[in-house]
Symmetry: C2
Subunit: 430 residues, 2 copies
């Protein structure tokens, strides 16, 4: 049986004079990404390819045949690099375009093509994280310079998913709300000892000590972040209650009541989960409790090699099933899991907005390639959380000798509901 | 090295004239259960054994040497049977005594003795549940007679963990609150189609149709329960919107928006989880959502053979990790997990209270052996939930093409928080 013309079969309206090789290459890409509403423009000769019957979300301009061929040969690296180089441009809503690609895929259980893996989640492959390896991975991302992150994060430099009590909350409000939400989920009591594994710039540790009267020992292997966090503790005179330790959290020593980890699990290799479980159990025993806040997945999947190579080395987003390997060996009972996926999409949208507004300053600090790569990383992450290829889980757990924390979860929402009621009241009488 | 006298070594104050064999047997039991504050009385000659330095929670009276020996030879069956026979009596707080035994155990990761397994969870071993097997298992428990369950369940005959918005809620209120809580977690919309796998006496299906305007197709293999549920639907004129089907939920056919299963997963063999996942996916696809409400564990463990043999055949309480085998193959994203363990302890306390109050009626229906066996089952379950050897999980999940349900969980607690605020206001002004 002869193969019918692909453009005809797929009803793709190639314009006249479309070169044969480019046509074939674009057909392969179109076949792979499915019916995403994207217009492709081939810069070499103005040839274009539009999706049938829908108005396109964005126009993807491909500079030359070499770029197009690269997408076929090594899509995971080629797309990101070409975008960063400016050899691929996306005119329109970048995050929306990437989301459309994700959502046009079948619920790829087995037979995802090489191309579908291209943008499959945004963060980087699982890799062996020796203590030295972790240190290098963390440095390459978190030691880019506090000045860089200050341009587009909130004022406390919280580089994890925020929590928006209402959709209209600002990034500043939502990050503060997140810190407090975690403290309330943990039901911190004055005088308790908390250990934090991976503390970023120290916002959570400082919030805990400032508002909940606990002492915190916080670990991080990023030198710049630790220096910054220590200075903040000193400035706020919280340094007697918050200790920032520049060390890998696998070296945690001491006894604590509460274990907290926000945005750290993504840097731990799944093969090391048993070891992490032992660190937790060594720290808080059977009577402690804790929280794990991390980017996860609804199913096991690998990440784009591009992200791993260029942006976020050594990262993996686990499933809930995988994370149970940390907790179950020590009989830690899960008390609460919340999926904050829409909150991470919104957080990233606000980050990207601020990133774009800071473009002039960023371009003074880094070259255009770096800047475009980071735009792609942020937009791709928005797309992944919107489309559900990434999730954001908060898991609360408690030891077998620990008392249940809440009778119900209602107290977590007391303030929000009161505020909502007040707003309603104001609305009704205005 | 010679073995020192165990009573001496453990500082157990045997009274004078304690017979040698009984002494040795009791010593073995004491060694195994650890420092639980229980007084043992040996009826044959009034010999007794008390825990050193604490006032005992209950007195365990053992009738004869044969019973004592049975506890050593086959503890899992012997304790339950001897209690049911009246050859072992527990004077005092039965649930409290069993809880003390659970809690005195080390966090038995590997080397639990045969005796420690005796009361290790209360429900029954995992067993192969063929369609016919399931049917027989369900009949032996759920077809005991509606009249029996009416004596100690709430008026709607809800035989699963209740939800107490406040600790002072009655059983009646708490079961109604649970039904509504599930509907709110599912965010049911008028006109949606719900399929319920394992519907008991139909309370949830009827609540959904009555208050949320959905249509429900509910499966159950217990004939008596289905007959009862159909009559209720007719009486309430909900029979056009609720269909009760007497069939195994593995035979579910049709397309639905929502999958609900409350207290059914415990009857499914772990090896059948993949199949259950396929049933769910066949029913609600990638755009649906659902809830699984079930007795679970913080770690894999087996149940007492006695419960399996005498009370609840073919039952297993899975870990969250095991349950992910149902959801992950189909990319269902977990949106919410809540552990209602303290609520099940309280539910069971209220059931046992009503069971004891109905003792005269129950003794007219069943022999004393049955009655004592059920007391032990209910009290042992209270102990297991209090001590944390059993958990109660509600997992909400959503398909990859489904929209996230809530922006935050606050709306789930709107009424509770309003009520709490009102109560506070009344208190402040009274």
């Amino acid at each position: 049986m002869s193969q019918p013309d692909l453009a005809l079969r797929n009803n793709i309206p190639f314009n006249r004079g479309f070169p044969f090789v480019e046509k074939w290459l674009l057909q392969q890409i179109f076949k792979a990404i499915g019916p995403a509403p994207l217009r492709f423009l081939f810069k070499g000769n103005g040839a274009e390819l539009s999706p049938p019957g829908v108005s396109p979300l964005a126009t993807v301009t491909i500079q030359d045949r070499r770029t197009l061929a690269g997408l076929i040969l090594d899509p995971e690296i080629a797309f990101g690099d070409a975008y960063a180089d400016g050899r691929i441009e996306v005119d329109g809503d970048l995050a929306g375009a990437l989301q459309a690609v994700y959502e046009s895929w079948p619920n790829g259980r087995a037979d995802r093509s090489w191309y579908q893996r291209l943008t499959s989640g945004w963060m980087g492959w699982c890799q062996a994280n020796s203590l030295r390896g972790s240190r290098n991975n963390i440095h390459s991302h978190y030691d880019l310079g506090n000045a860089f992150y200050k341009l587009w994060l909130d004022s406390q430099l919280v580089y994890t998913c925020a929590y928006f009590p209402s959709v209209s909350a600002t990034l500043e409000e939502a990050q503060k709300a997140k810190l407090d939400y975690i403290c309330r989920k943990l039901q911190l009591q004055p005088g308790e000892r908390v250990v934090e594994a991976g503390c970023g710039w120290g916002a959570l540790a400082l919030h805990m000590a400032r508002h909940y009267g606990v002492s915190v020992t916080a670990f991080n292997i990023s030198h710049e972040q630790i220096v910054y966090a220590r200075r903040r503790a000193l400035e706020e005179r919280l340094n007697d209650r918050v200790e920032f330790i520049e060390d890998d959290c696998r070296n945690i020593a001491g006894k604590f009541d509460v274990f907290a980890s926000v945005g750290m699990l993504e840097h731990v290799n799944v093969a090391d989960y048993a070891r992490l479980g032992k660190v937790i159990h060594r720290s808080i025993g059977d009577s402690g409790r804790g929280i794990l806040h991390f980017i996860g997945r609804s199913h096991k999947d690998a990440f784009s090699r591009w992200i791993r190579k260029r942006i976020f080395p050594g990262t993996y987003a686990p499933t809930l099933g995988e994370v149970m390997d940390i907790l179950q060996p020590h009989h830690y009972a899960v008390s609460d899991v919340e999926n904050l996926r829409p909150h991470y999409a919104k957080t990233l949208e606000l980050w990207l907005e601020r990133f774009d507004k800071s473009a002039p300053q960023i371009s003074e600090m880094y070259d255009p390639r770096f800047q475009r790569a980071w735009r792609l990383y942020l937009a791709g992450s928005i797309a992944a959380f919107r489309a559900g290829s990434l999730q954001l889980f908060q898991i609360c757990f408690a030891g077998s000798k620990s008392e249940p924390i809440f009778w119900t979860r209602a107290p977590l929402y007391w303030d929000t509901n009161r505020a909502a009621k007040d707003r309603k009241w104001i609305h009704a009488t205005s």
